[in-house]
């Protein structure tokens, strides 16, 4: 589909906007609907558009499988790590209030880090699943 002129030009303009929108949803989880999970899915839909217009091989160069596996596990680690840090600070698992001087600031930092972990994991696992299936059904 890369020879489809109109689709190519329009997706060049749209992909950065979709990625920025995904990050907006990621960081505004506490003000408007959204959060890590939704952001991850939106981000992967931007990559999906890229795959459909420019092909699977170009996308594999942009996001190699190794990097995706790394970010998937890093997201889980971030999530669990935050819990363990609060455990070491003398609270319960995932008790954000102890992460900073005041309980409010601690809650804020905790939720942002947790959402970041969720977003990273969801985006990379989604893309890994998609890449795996897309390679399997390719017509030679």
């Amino acid at each position: 589909m890369a020879d489809n002129l109109i689709l190519r030009v329009m997706s060049k303009a749209l992909i950065p906007v979709i990625i920025l929108f995904a990050l907006y949803v990621q960081f505004h989880g506490d003000y408007s609907p959204g959060g890590g999970f939704q952001a991850g899915v939106i981000f992967s839909s931007a990559i999906l558009l890229y795959v459909m217009v420019f092909g699977l091989d170009a996308a594999a160069k942009v996001l190699p499988d190794k990097a995706l596996i790394f970010t998937a596990s890093f997201g889980v680690l971030l999530y669990a790590g935050t819990g363990v840090v609060s455990l070491f600070l003398g609270g319960q698992y995932l008790n954000y209030s102890l992460l900073a001087n005041t309980a409010m600031a601690g809650q804020h930092i905790g939720i942002i880090v947790i959402e970041l972990g969720v977003g990273l994991t969801v985006a990379s696992v989604m893309l890994l699943i998609f890449f795996t299936f897309a390679r399997r059904t390719r017509v030679e």
Partner: protein, 97 residues
Amino acid sequence: MNILLTGAAIAIMFTMLLALIRALMGPTVFDRVLAVNMFGTKAVLLVAVFAFISGRPDVLDIALLYSLLNFVGVVAALRLVQRGKEYAQKKLEEDAQ
């Protein structure tokens, strides 16, 4: 004002119903995808109207998102149709051999 917007929401839903009937009837697969595309556009407008009825403008983010994802969805559906045709042709050639 809420009465008018509720009326508008009902009118939009009626249009969505018409599009849905076309999506179910559509003789070719392209008619169906076209109807689903129209359904998506109407859903964006419905979400925007709903944001004003309920007085929660935050919901507009969902309308923004839906207008972007509708496009990705249509492209993905078309890609699937194209794939299906390539696959069917390959199958035919294999059977002929």
